[in-house]
């Protein structure tokens, strides 16, 4: 249990997707103009990360990893399909996103109208694929750990985008040098937020 809590906290603060690895920066910069839309986008990211990472974990452990195919027959003990992981992961992500979109549209039109427009954007959000690739690289020992890691990374991303959106709403009233307005100042603020988040780095979990 403690192990899970550690993974969760670690993936939110210490290994924050945005500030430590710059994942999902494109949508982070493009959709952070108002708090309302950024909350929607953040929620969609948590949701999709929480679903795709356990799926890709199963894929990794029962198909792709070296010797993962032994459950079919012992002849496959030497088969290593991990070079296929990019294409398999992205296929899983793209189809799950499509599926989730259709399910939400059918069963919860209200949720769809607030979350729906963000879902297609998410298939090409690097935070999602990055989450799966980090899961593969770090070798979590159970599917529960992988799921917790996925949810934690999603929450970290959510915090980051809501934070920057709130700052951007306020900064509209400030007198920023013309050439720095918009994109430039957003980068610099993100850098400052990143410095703030670096203070979590010393925490050993």
């Amino acid at each position: 249990m403690q192990e899970l809590a550690n993974i969760f906290i670690k993936s939110i603060f210490i290994d924050n997707m945005v500030f430590a690895y710059f994942l999902g920066m494109c949508s982070y910069l493009a959709i952070s103009k108002t708090v309302k839309t950024s909350v929607g986008m953040g929620a969609a990211v948590i949701f999709v990360l929480g679903i795709t990472i356990p799926f890709n974990y199963l894929l990794e452990h029962y198909i792709l990893k070296e010797g993962a195919l032994v459950w079919i027959s012992n002849d496959f003990i030497d088969v290593d399909l991990s070079f296929l992981s990019f294409i398999m992961f992205i296929a899983v992500i793209a189809s799950i996103v499509q599926l989730v979109e259709m399910v939400i549209e059918k069963f919860s039109p209200a949720l769809y109208s607030s979350l729906g427009i963000f879902l297609p954007l998410i298939a090409v959000n690097c935070a999602i694929l990055g989450g799966s690739l980090f899961m593969q690289e770090r070798g979590y020992s159970s599917i529960i750990e992988a799921t917790v890691f996925g949810l934690g990374s999603g929450v970290g991303w959510f915090l980051a985008i809501v934070g920057i959106a709130a700052i951007r709403e306020k900064i509209r009233y400030s007198n920023v040098p013309p050439a720095l307005r918009g994109l430039g100042i957003t980068y610099i603020i993100t850098g400052l937020m990143g410095i703030a988040f670096m203070s979590f780095m010393g925490i050993k979990l």
Binding site: F19, A20, Y21, F22, L23, G24, M25, C26, L29, A30, F83, L84, S85, F86, I87, F89, I90, A91, A94, S95, Q98, P120, A123, V124, N125, C126, I128, L129, G130, L133, F134, E137, R172, P177, P178, A179, L180, R181, G182, L183, G184, I185, T186, Y187, I188, T190, G191, L192, M193, G194, I195, M198
Partner: protein
């Protein structure tokens, strides 16, 4: 399309525009993740720029050849499959020939798949233009991307580690004898953001039509 019309003036704009006025990173806001994450040193940045160059121009040509056959509802998945296949090729080549750099790039080679430069250019350009033009667009945009990567990596490596492409420039110049210290901050992630921010500032100060309203 004949050969000479491919290199006509209008088409050369496809190559030169992304370098400045329509730069993928500083103006179109595409492909930022990798630009920030792998610019600690010049070498991985150069390797990354070359990988993106290969993937983007080939993917642009392939998608442009298939543009009339792809149903628009599933186009994103088709794009991703084309890109993922190319990225697997690039990844295997990197592992075979420059293993240490490939280790350093870690997940970021895989993330070329979701690098929005590629999806963005496929969607915005290759779906609507013939292969020759799409190829030039791919080249132009990856040069624009590469230039930013190399500028950022140049400053971060020089100021952060005092080396360039692994060569200890500052030590040879004797700057340390004057009391200079490496700025360790430049190596950390946040300074990549600030460096790109300053770069954008400089570019927009020079080129006023790019200035945004808020």
């Amino acid at each position: 399309m004949s050969k000479d019309s491919l290199f006509a003036k209008k088409n050369m704009k496809l190559l030169s525009d992304p370098l400045d006025d329509n730069n993928p990173i500083t103006v179109q806001v595409l492909g930022i993740c990798s630009a920030l994450a792998i610019t600690v040193q010049l070498k991985p940045a150069v390797v990354m720029a070359l990988s993106v160059l290969v993937v983007l121009s080939v993917a642009n040509v392939i998608v442009s050849l298939m543009r009339n056959m792809i149903p628009s509802r599933i186009r994103i998945i088709v794009f991703l499959v084309v890109i993922a296949a190319l990225v697997i090729l690039v990844d295997q080549v990197l592992k075979a020939f420059v293993y240490d750099v490939s280790k350093e790039l870690s997940v970021f080679v895989g993330l070329i798949i979701t690098n929005c430069i590629i999806c963005g250019r496929l969607e915005a350009f290759a779906m609507a233009n013939p292969p020759g033009k799409a190829f030039l667009d791919g080249l132009g945009n990856s040069f624009g991307y590469g230039i930013i990567l190399i500028i950022v990596a140049f400053f971060r490596e020089l100021l952060g580690a005092g080396t360039l492409y692994g060569y200890p420039v500052l030590e040879k110049l004797g700057v340390y004898d004057l009391g200079y210290e490496n700025n360790g901050m430049m190596i950390l992630p946040p300074m990549a953001l600030v460096t790109v921010g300053v770069l954008i500032w400089w570019q927009r100060a020079r080129n006023e039509k790019l200035i945004e309203n808020n």
